[in-house]
Symmetry: C2
Subunit: 155 residues, 2 copies
DNA sequence: TATTGTTATACTCTATAACTATA
DNA sequence: TATAGTTATAGAGTATAACAATA
């Protein structure tokens, strides 16, 4: 345990003892892996995440998704249009300015496939963490995430 | 401890119980924070990292840095040129095709300032992890990183 | 033949600005 | 007045292809 954060004088920390560096490299590598896996369902990570949100909260509106995932509304437009063009989601007017988003039957089917990929990805990732650390990494990241200042609170 | 990975049937996992999702969000937020901090020395994260590598291994060549940091050699060119234009690094021919990279005096001074920022960022980040998890997160990430298939082995 | 370095370019992602219309 | 949605565009970051020169 834990003198990894101490640098010997003269010999500076190797990069891979820095939490910030590790977070970036591990995240990038993991997302690259996930992207490859999601090619099988022809979706990007963000598409999969949006489908998960729509499933979890039917009639969710675009701007709320954007707030949760930190996506500008301007960038939500082509994202949702592509999902709609693929027949995976449907928009139903809530009032004059908002559209509630729902999965189509095809979208629900696609999400089933996708969830299997996501779950396997998740399992594989967790198994690469040695047992003695495994139960700590998610709570640790959640704690960092919970203390990040950001616009929206949930998820 | 640890039933965060279990989803209740019907109620799917919230996103922020997924390791992959947390890695991405925490990494993005942390890098955004670091970018802001590095504005004080007019450097990006990647610039700071490259300066660290040059300091650690004087006469390192561009292609080796690219291999370590997963930066295509084509993209190393403008990166190094900018650092050279700022007077932070110097290139000295090793042979007819390679240039050894070194910090200039100004580069060494800049890196001192930069390292202070990096170290404070690191400390702040670590302190956001509850004590009971703190000694686990770096080893956990190192383990994931160590098992990522990639071109280069070190750092 | 593999490596180093370079130029030019394309693609993706994200950010910004201006705008319309509704709550 | 704030929110929802849209369009168009700019910028960064990254990837690809073609190339020259050296080990």
């Amino acid at each position: 345990m834990g003198n990894w954060s101490l640098s010997k004088p003269g010999k500076p920390d190797p990069l891979n003892s820095r939490l910030g560096y590790l977070l970036k490299r591990v995240s990038t590598a993991a997302m690259g892996d996930l992207s490859l896996r999601l090619q099988e369902v022809d979706l990007r990570e963000v598409d999969a995440t949006v489908l998960l949100l729509i499933e979890r909260t039917p009639n969710i509106i675009a701007s709320r998704i954007g707030r949760i995932l930190d996506i500008k509304t301007a960038n939500m437009v082509p994202l949702l249009r592509k999902l709609e063009d693929k027949g995976l989601i449907r928009r139903e007017p809530i009032d004059g300015k908002s559209n509630g988003l729902q999965l189509t039957a095809a979208g629900a089917r696609k999400l089933s496939e996708t969830r299997a990929i996501l779950d396997e990805f998740e399992r594989d990732l967790e198994q690469r963490v040695p047992e003695e650390h495994r139960d700590h990494i998610v709570p640790a990241l959640q704690a960092i995430w919970a203390t990040a200042r950001r616009s929206d609170k949930k998820s």
